[in-house]
Structures are given as structure tokens and as C-alpha cells.
């Protein structure tokens, strides 16, 4: 097993890029996607500060190498859905880091992207995912049974950080002991450490290389294999009539690991923190199986965790500014699900909400291939949790800690509940 790389602590002085000639002064806002102002109050609350009445739909920040930011739902959705104007050639910020990242097929545009995406869809289709539901449910039950009698747990470290990882390790047929180091590589890639674009690029690159080196021998071993695990299916996929190349298979598996290890982890944390603070919502979900299953989407809308980017594919005028080929635009999905113009009363979990709109799974050709798995993981978690822990709350004095980045994070979620017939 590989060693877990050390963490680099953040400093207060962040590098700033000079303002390019195509950026008007009234579009400049000081927003650091990795250290959002007000992050101590909450990740979604911090992003929402950016979306004020009168905020232009596209703004520019000097931090993280200098980049544009889409600030409302309509703009986020439109950019995701138009790969001819907004390319996936680079999708992570800072751009210096994003250029090093070689997951497949997230950095491809159609038509190159299409056959790789079809291979992914084959492994992650609704039908495939239904077949693994019992395995997923077993993982949830085992974890919850492990602490239910104790009357307390730290949800982030004892469930959220373990459940999706174990699910993924089971689906990919990988040893559970490797989960920690893979989790560390995933974090280096989604919240890279360092104070300059160059330092962050080096950290992201180290995480990326770590993942690639990890998957390399596994791919070689499973080529030509007949197993039905996710990795065997992917490394034996046909691309335009030929077996997928080794390099592309590496990128594809590394993407699966990254996507499976960090997104659901943090989404679950945000969701359970909210449920712990809203017992009436828990009671409503607990009493109605179908309502619970249908609530997952409203949770996805309310707690988006991803902020990736698109690269401007050609010089163009858009939203009143002149964009240059190569400019980067950050798409904070939090500013779509929580946009009043898209979802009235957006902070409320409304189980009767009609016409819901979100890009929590992205949009366009790269929309999350794992969304059926994510939805099922959320439903299994809620069902099995409520079966064993019907009432719970946040421990007195709890101080959850929030982090922003390509994938948002929340740590320190101590939950408590009554046990053994004693009132809490």
C-alpha cells in the first residue's frame, strides 16, 4: 500500500493575476474559490453571497490564476450545455493545474468524447446500478449498525468518508485497505494545496500521478478478464471498434475513482447536517417510502458540491463581455440550485417542489455518469439510517467546518440520538 502524502497548510497570502485587457473594471470581484469569504458560515451560504441582485451574470476574479465566474443558474446551465463555445479542454482551476489533469473522458469534447462516454454509461446504467443495490445497502447497514447502539457518531469520518468509498471499492473489486490513500489522492485533486497556481498545480499533479500509478497494475491484470466488476468492464471496452488503449483506460479508471471517492462523501455530510437540524423534515421522510425516494433529487438541488470550469473555445461576445479563446469560466453549481429565479424559496427543502432546476450533476455531454449510483446511495443511506436511528440531532456545541474547492467539503458533524428506550 502506498504512503499517504502529507497535507500542505494554506497561508493568508494568495497569488493574484493581473487584470487582462478584455476584463472591464465593473466585472472584477475578489472571489477565491478555495477560500470563499464567509465559508465559516457554510459553503452554500458563502457562494450565495456572490449572487446578489445586480451581480453581473459573468464576473472575473484575480485569484486562482484569474478566471471568470458564472453567477446564476441560467448561465451555468447554458455554458455546460454548449461544448462548441465552452470546451472541456481544461476543467479544473487554477488552469495550470487543470492542464496537468488527464482523466478520461472529462477533458474531451464531442465527438472524441462520445465512445468513451458510452463505455462509462454501459457500466453505470440504471439497470446495472439496480443490480448492485443489495451490495450498497449491506455497506450502509454494516456501518450504521456499528454505531447505532452508541447513541452518537461523527458523521463525516464514521459514515460519509467511508460509505461511498466502500461502495466504490466493492463495485470495482478493490481491497478496502487501499481506501485511505485513494481518498487522499482524490482530495489533492479536488482541493489542491498551495498558495500559488504553480504550487497548487504541483499538488494536484502529485495526486493525479498517485492515482494513475495505483491503477496501472490493476488495469494490466484485468485486461482480457471476464469479471463483472466496474474496472474489468471498462478496461475491456471497445472504442470505435478497437480495445481501449492502456493510457485511455488509465484515465478512465482514475476518473471513476476520483468521482466515486469525493463527491458523494461531501454531499452526504451536507445533507445529514441539514437533517440533524430539521427533525420535522426527518419525520416527513420517515413516514413515506415513496416520498423519501423522491426526496433525493431535492437534496441534490439544495446541496450542490461541485465547481468545475469550462474553457472559452473561441473569441466571442457573451453576457456583455468579450471572452478570449483560452479564458476560463468557473461554474459554481451552488449558484444554480440556490438561484431564486430557478427555484423559488431555494433554501427550503420542499418535497412538493415542481419544475425543479439544478446542475448538481453538471449538464450537457459530460453530465455525471454516476448519477444513478449517487441517487441510489442517498436513498439507501436515508432508508437504513431512519430504520435504525429514527430521531437524531446535532450534538450541543457542534461546530461543523466547511471547505470550498472543486468539490466542497464539510467535516465535524457530531450527531446524537436516544438509545435503549431512554429519552435523549
Amino acid at each position: 500500500m502506498a504512503t499517504v502524502p502529507e497535507e500542505v497548510p494554506p497561508s493568508m497570502s494568495r497569488a493574484r493575476a493581473p487584470q487582462p485587457a478584455n476584463v472591464p473594471d465593473d466585472r472584477v470581484f475578489e472571489i477565491d474559490m478555495y477560500q470563499l469569504d464567509g465559508i465559516e458560515e457554510g459553503y452554500h451560504e458563502a457562494w450565495k453571497r456572490v449572487q446578489q441582485p445586480g451581480t453581473p451574470e459573468l464576473i472575473w476574479t484575480p485569484f486562482t490564476g484569474g478566471h471568470w465566474i458564472a453567477t446564476n443558474g441560467q448561465t451555468v446551465r447554458e455554458i455546460y450545455g454548449d461544448p462548441e463555445r465552452f470546451s472541456s479542454e481544461v476543467i479544473f482551476l487554477p488552469k495550470e493545474a487543470g492542464e496537468l489533469y488527464d482523466m478520461v473522458p472529462t477533458r474531451m469534447d464531442p465527438p472524441e468524447h462520445t465512445p468513451y462516454r458510452k463505455a462509462l454509461d454501459k457500466g453505470l446504467s440504471l439497470g446495472q446500478i439496480r443490480q448492485v443495490e443489495e451490495k450498497v445497502r449491506e455497506v450502509a447497514v454494516e456501518l450504521i449498525d456499528g454505531f447505532a447502539a452508541a447513541g452518537q457518531c461523527e458523521f463525516s469520518s464514521e459514515y460519509a468518508h467511508i460509505f461511498p468509498v466502500r461502495v466504490f471499492m466493492a463495485l470495482a473489486d478493490l481491497p478496502m485497505d487501499d481506501a485511505e490513500v485513494l481518498g487522499r489522492f482524490a482530495k489533492m485533486m479536488t482541493r489542491p494545496e498551495g498558495n500559488t497556481p504553480e504550487e497548487m498545480a504541483a499538488n494536484l499533479d502529485a495526486g493525479n500521478k498517485g492515482l494513475i500509478d495505483y491503477v496501472d497494475p490493476i488495469i494490466r491484470a484485468r485486461r482480457g478478464g471476464s469479471g463483472d466488476d466496474l474496472i474489468t468492464v471498462m478496461v475491456n471496452a471497445e472504442i470505435n471498434g478497437e480495445l481501449i488503449s492502456h493510457d485511455k483506460a488509465q484515465g478512465l479508471i482514475a476518473l471513476l475513482l476520483l468521482a466515486g471517492l469525493d463527491t458523494v462523501v461531501n454531499f452526504l455530510g451536507f445533507m445529514m447536517l441539514h437533517l440533524a437540524r430539521n427533525p420535522e423534515l426527518v419525520a416527513e421522510l420517515r413516514g413515506d417510502k415513496i416520498k423519501l425516494m423522491r426526496s433525493a433529487e431535492e437534496m441534490f438541488r439544495r446541496f450542490p458540491v461541485v465547481s468545475e470550469a469550462r474553457m472559452v473555445a473561441k473569441d466571442q461576445e457573451y453576457k456583455g463581455v468579450n471572452l478570449k479563446h483560452g479564458d476560463m469560466i468557473l461554474l459554481p453549481t451552488a449558484l444554480h440550485g440556490l438561484d431564486e429565479a430557478e427555484n423559488p424559496d431555494p433554501w427550503k427543502i420542499d418535497l412538493q417542489r415542481r419544475g425543479m432546476s439544478h446542475t448538481t450533476f453538471g449538464g450537457g455531454p459530460h453530465r455525471c455518469a454516476g448519477m444513478h449510483l449517487a441517487r441510489m446511495e442517498v436513498i439507501c443511506t436515508l432508508e437504513e439510517w431512519f430504520n435504525r436511528i429514527p430521531e437524531f440531532g446535532l450534538a450541543p456545541g457542534a461546530k461543523p467546518v466547511f471547505h470550498s474547492g472543486i468539490v466542497a467539503a464539510v467535516d465535524n458533524i457530531p450527531l446524537v440520538w436516544p438509545v435503549g428506550g431512554r429519552p435523549s
Binding site: 439497470g127 433529487e297 425543479m356
Partner: protein, 105 residues
């Protein structure tokens, strides 16, 4: 009002008279037919409101988006009559529409 006939997986026919403007998925759900899970509530992201259009009275169902096409592609029961019912808004033009709920994937 628009009349839509829905056949369940067990072959039971229901005649619905939904209000205009809601989706066919919502019309089925509100009629109490629970076998149409429609998990995502109409975001076009889950493929659990899959139906077969048996008869399209005027040939004027809205065209299929790339998202809908991709989702249906992942269903093992897709046919050339497959649609996601959340993408079909009810209007007078759909009067006489007949659909069957697709098998669960």
C-alpha cells in the same frame, strides 16, 4: 379536458383527464399510479418515468432532447416508441394519447 390512457405493467388501463401544463409524468403520479417512480421529479436525470407511446394522436409530441435520448439509451427496454413522460407536457393536442409504462430496468 385532455384524455390520456395509461396502461400499467400489469396491463390495467387507466383513463386520466389531467390539467394542461403539467407533464404526463406528473399526471400519472398524481393519479396514484405508484409504479412510475419518476425519482428525479422531472429534471430529466433518472429515466424512471419511461413509457411507450402506443398512439400519438397528432404526431406532435415535442422532439427528444439529447439528455432524454442519452437516458433512454441506458435502458434495456428502449424501443422506437420510448419517451420519458416528464418531457411530455399535457395539452389539448395530446387528446387521445395512449401510453404504456415501460418495464423497470
Amino acid at each position: 379536458m385532455t384524455a390520456i390512457t395509461v396502461t400499467t405493467r400489469e396491463g390495467v388501463e387507466h383513463e386520466l383527464r389531467p390539467q394542461d401544463g403539467i407533464s404526463v409524468m406528473e399526471a400519472i403520479r398524481e393519479s396514484g399510479i405508484d409504479e412510475l417512480l419518476a425519482l428525479c421529479g422531472g429534471c430529466c436525470s433518472c429515466a424512471t418515468c419511461h413509457v411507450f407511446v402506443d398512439r400519438d394522436p397528432v404526431g406532435q409530441l415535442p422532439p427528444m432532447s439529447a439528455d432524454e435520448d442519452d437516458l433512454l439509451e441506458s435502458s434495456s427496454s428502449r424501443t422506437d416508441r420510448s419517451r420519458l413522460s416528464c418531457q411530455l407536457p399535457v395539452s389539448a393536442a395530446l387528446d387521445g394519447l395512449r401510453i404504456t409504462i415501460a418495464p423497470e430496468d
